[in-house]
Symmetry: C2
Subunit: 397 residues, 2 copies
């Protein structure tokens, strides 16, 4: 498997476009992914009980495991918009169905942006007319789904599977209200592999748990989170079956795409200057390890300490202690980068210069060894900065 250059439209038979339709002032705000044949599909959605209208519409569309197009707008979340919001999401689906001459049942819709405002359907409708279903600006799609993100998030991988070169591409957006729980942010993944929607759904659930669900920016789980995967089978591989070596390769591709996008979201968290990667080892089971890693990376005090380049292991072990996982409070080792700072829950001397180098890096690594068992888990987040406060205090509804 290798990472290659490309866009969400790099896998065979996929097309994408992104344009400005006027929901945002200047930036792109409407994007389309289109497969020229019907694709096997899988999706996971937010667990927030307050769900945006497009969540309901897309859930219904994907029930049969098939999709052919995804329309996404930014600038407006279409959340807390009642029946009118639902009708608007359905109308959006219809407009796309007419334009592409496909069934509305094969169309997913997603929205991100401000909560509580009705969609401007005139802008949506005229925007849809401007979108190119073929030959569009595919990387423009990755731009059109952004809100407070500072960079687009794209990754493409390829590998030989079942006698064919299979490609997989993913895009995602962050970057506030990020604390996915059994679901995730807006992310869309395309692949030309032949694989059933059932297997795709299993893989998506498995990988979401260890990638998207292990990132946090601010502890707030959004009303609009969604990941949708399309597999159109155009690579020409023999259909991927569970338990084969092909499945393992595809699984690795999937892990690479989800993991890369998840880290990109964490790194581009609102106001962030550093990516924080926490690895917990020596746990009794992987779920416990992941829970602890996510508590540590979500601690406001740990996040501000990393922003200030302070090796504050006290805040780290404090977060381990309130993580809801039973630990032995006397046997914990903690390292920051390559510097051991805590051994058996007590401080050890470390090289202060080397530590400052570690804390100045773009990615700060926190390693926690519980010495209880053999399991491990990871989580990703970002530092908490003045800029996060500025972005979210100056934002006006």
């Amino acid at each position: 498997m290798k990472i290659i250059d490309g866009t969400i439209a790099t896998p065979k038979g996929f097309h994408a476009d992104g344009i400005h339709c006027g929901l945002k002032k200047k930036k792109k705000d409407l994007g389309l992914i289109y497969s020229d044949t019907v694709a096997q599909a899988a999706a996971v959605f937010t667990t927030n009980q307050v769900k945006a209208a497009p969540i309901f519409v897309t859930k219904e569309a994907i029930m049969d495991g098939q999709l052919q197009a995804i329309l996404v707008n930014s600038g407006n979340a279409n959340a807390c918009t009642g029946n009118q919001g639902l009708e608007d999401a359905q109308a959006t689906q219809e407009y796309i169905a007419e334009k592409l001459e496909i069934s509305h049942k094969n169309i997913a819709v997603a929205s991100t942006g401000i909560i509580g405002k009705l969609l401007d359907m005139e802008k949506i409708q005229s925007g849809i007319e401007q979108l190119s279903e073929i030959g569009g600006n595919a990387t423009g799609f990755a731009e059109a789904i952004l809100t407070t993100d500072t960079t687009k998030k794209e990754v493409v991988v390829e590998a030989e599977i079942g006698g064919a070169l299979v490609k997989m591409a993913g895009v995602a957006k962050g970057s506030g209200m990020i604390h996915p729980n059994m679901a995730t942010m807006l992310s869309f993944i395309t692949t030309d592999a032949a694989i059933s929607s059932q297997l795709l759904q299993e893989l998506l659930a498995e990988k979401t748990e260890v990638t998207f669900n292990q990132i946090t920016v601010d502890g707030d789980t959004s009303t609009n989170d969604m990941v949708v995967v399309l597999a159109n089978g155009q690579a020409g591989n023999t259909e991927i079956q569970l338990g084969t070596s092909d499945y393992e390769i595809f699984r690795q591709m999937f892990h690479c795409v989800c993991g890369t996008l998840a880290k990109m979201i964490a790194k581009d968290g609102e106001g962030a200057t550093k990516l924080i990667e926490v690895e917990v080892s020596g746990a009794l089971d992987t779920l416990s390890a992941r829970m602890i890693a996510k508590k540590v990376v979500g601690s406001s005090l740990v996040k501000t300490a990393i922003f200030g380049s302070d090796p504050n292991w006290g805040r780290i072990i404090c977060a381990v202690g309130y993580s809801d996982v039973v630990v032995n409070p006397m046997t914990i080792d903690i390292s920051l980068g390559n510097q051991l700072v805590l051994k058996d829950s007590q401080p050890v001397d470390f090289d202060k210069e080397a530590m400052q180098e570690e804390l100045a890096k773009e990615t700060v690594f926190i390693k926690i060894d519980l010495k209880q068992g053999e399991a491990s888990g990871m989580a990703w987040g970002c530092d908490l900065t003045y800029k996060y406060v500025e972005i979210n205090a100056l934002y006006h509804t």
Copy 2:
């Protein structure tokens, strides 16, 4: 019942002092509460698994329900200090026992400050020598327990109970690492009421749940949290019995002291400019109402919105939705101050000028009606500001 001026030493037979012994650069850092007779006592402690040494020592001291003195130092938490830390906490207890000529089993010790550094026992020992057991600077105690707090937190109430004028006083400290869970911050309460330690413990557990445990500053549960209550019986009232009107009056006093201190801690949260009070009504049960209130007041996005005086109800209903309590997402009303902003989960027009007045107040009130049932609950927090980031990023271990 009325609130009166006074200090932690206002109830009969109590004495207190606070001095500078050198653990902090300039500010007071060592405090003593002393009852001239043995008092009935109750306490709750942090649920963090990583507990500071004084937690273990005080838990043992209070096992028989009796205490006569409390020694507190700030500037050093005596946490993650291993066996030496435990020995130091015990030695502190011994020094006080010798000075006051009372049993070390009747002495509670508490610490707050930096994690992972051994106590400077020379400074503690000479500091204890300087403390006055009688005639000390009682309000100095409230100062000596502070860390990043900007104000001392004291409250005194009195009421007629069982034929006597009973007084109750409380002090507390915040103001970071504040997210108590089944326990609370450093807080000490004295009363001259006659009441058994069993009843005192029941009341403390009951009131902690709805006051101290309902505040949050940053979601981080400290390693050192503790509330200790002493009742020395010197008011001369008939001993308070469960189910009597005296008990109800005492319960109200207790609620007033705990509630006032809890709000003081939230208001003085690190970097805070405003106190946020969230009231959830129409819930199926009080625990659900409290859980939702605490999620809302703990949301970084809600906290930054309040800092920016933005009536961002979208972030509020989003936090209700991920609160782990099952709600009806279609029937929620939200008010900010006296302005209704959401009715049945959909936005309503409000007076923008009146809203700006509400959001400029020292206390911002958020009211959420779930319209599911009759139960209600409250929580308190503070806004998230540049100053919070500054305090915690510039802090160096």
